[in-house]
């Protein structure tokens, strides 16, 4: 279980949010909402441990994620708004090396399967910079198919995807929730996940 207690985010001299408390339990999806600049990405980065909160703490199964660090990071998958793929590597190499560097090595077959499933059949061997933006996003999202992480933290996962890919992504999210996974995501798009316990958290209008 992920629990946040009294989080405060300060960027520059502005306080984006303060005294924010919530929790995400197994099989739950938390949908973060809010205007541009309301601190959604900052909150997600805090949940990954990339950014430190000005106040408050984030606990994973009752322990501070700053203390757990690598132990928590093993259980977490983060896909940010930067795709995190290398233009000079092929889609296949990107997927394999990203997983290996995360300490979850996958075989070449697994990588082929995942890329095929996410709709990149026939493009596995192209350098990622030859792919379109949406296809590049798919390479990043293919990580979810091979991931064994419990909690997924997704920053605008639906961006640049076509209708088919959106439908597939919803199915992937659904599957993860059914297996008692947790998801925290931000999106401005409407989406439906059938089995889930969906909660909303609105960060409001931001600070003018």
């Amino acid at each position: 279980m992920l629990e946040c207690i009294g989080l405060e985010c300060v960027r520059g001299d502005r306080t984006l949010f303060s005294d924010l408390s919530f929790s995400v339990k197994e099989g739950e999806l938390l949908h973060l909402k809010g205007a541009n600049g309301s601190g959604k990405t900052s909150l997600l980065r805090m949940l990954t441990g990339l950014m430190s909160a000005a106040e408050g703490e984030i606990q994973w199964n009752g322990e501070n994620i700053r203390k757990l660090r690598e132990e928590y990071q093993k259980e977490m998958l983060y896909i940010g708004h930067l795709p995190g793929i290398k233009g000079d590597l092929t889609a296949l190499e990107n997927l394999r090396v990203n997983n290996a560097l995360n300490g979850t090595e996958i075989s070449e077959e697994e990588a082929w399967d995942a890329l095929g499933e996410i709709g990149l059949k026939g493009r596995e061997d192209l350098p990622a910079r030859a792919l379109s933006q949406g296809q590049g996003r798919r390479v990043a999202l293919a990580k979810m198919l091979v991931s064994k992480a419990k909690i997924w933290i997704l920053d605008e996962p639906f961006v640049a995807l076509d209708v088919k890919a959106v439908a597939m992504l919803q199915k992937v999210l659904d599957n993860h929730l059914q297996q008692n996974g947790m998801i925290v995501l931000t999106t401005h798009q409407e989406f439906t996940v059938s089995h889930a316990n969906v909660h909303m958290l609105d960060l409001g209008q931001g600070v003018a």
Binding site: S52, E70, Q73, P83, I85, D88, L89, G103, T104, E105
Partner: protein, 222 residues
């Protein structure tokens, strides 16, 4: 953990080799700078041999600094760096792998080409061997120390200048003992003391620099 090291090195080497021009930059710079000295100072053999240790070492130092600010910048820009930081593997190990790749691509070529340039400046064969050995021990130290600076100045505007200001003072001991060893060999003095110190720098930097650079990256991305 060793697996991760292997993957990082594979990744960085593959990326570099797919953009060959960038690999050659450091070596070309080194060759050009050293080759300009005989033209500027004049072809007098004794003068050249006297300044050779200093010239070669200063050029090597600047050459290895040239590509430092790109050590983490590419990964930072495409978001792979944040993925590395939240990896379940120790960040210091990953950083160590990146530093090793950096050295393979910029330091090692300098070592390999240095005999030719030493010969060009009129160094005798014994001094040339010492030159190669000092560069072999010294250039990894430069990459290691440089990585800490590169981590700290990541994403800072005008980071290149700041980076030089930050790490040059730390390079100076390596420069002094590196070129000092060659100079000592040239004039027939012992070189053991120089090598002991360079070796100590290398061991110290290998242990401390990856940890320092990892911490610097965490701060830079906060």
């Amino acid at each position: 953990m060793i697996e991760v090291l292997r993957w990082v090195i594979w990744r960085d080497m593959t990326l570099a080799l797919r953009r060959k021009s960038e690999v050659l930059t450091a070596v070309l710079f080194f060759v050009i700078v050293v080759s300009l000295f005989p033209l500027g100072v004049g072809p007098e053999k004794n003068t050249l041999a006297t300044i050779a240790p200093g010239v070669l070492w200063v050029a090597a130092l600047l050459a290895s600094m040239l590509s430092l600010n790109r050590l983490f910048a590419d990964d930072y820009n495409d978001g792979t760096l944040e993925q590395l930081i939240i990896s379940s593997q120790p960040l210091a190990m990953i950083v160590f792998g990146k530093i090793m790749s950096h050295w393979f691509l910029t330091g090692l070529p300098l070592v390999l080409i240095s005999p030719l340039l030493g010969y060009q400046l009129g160094l005798d064969p014994d001094s040339i061997i010492i030159l190669m050995l000092t560069l072999l021990i010294g250039t990894p130290v430069l990459s290691l120390i440089g990585a800490v600076g590169a981590g700290l100045t990541l994403g800072v505007r005008g980071g290149g200048v700041l980076l030089s200001l930050l790490i040059l003072p730390l390079y100076i001991p390596v420069l002094i003992f590196g070129s000092g060893a060659v100079e000592a060999a040239r004039t027939g003095l012992g070189v053991e003391a120089h090598f002991s110190l360079l070796g100590a720098f290398l061991v110290g930097a290998m242990i401390l620099a990856p940890i320092g650079a990892a911490a610097a990256l965490r701060i830079s991305l906060d």
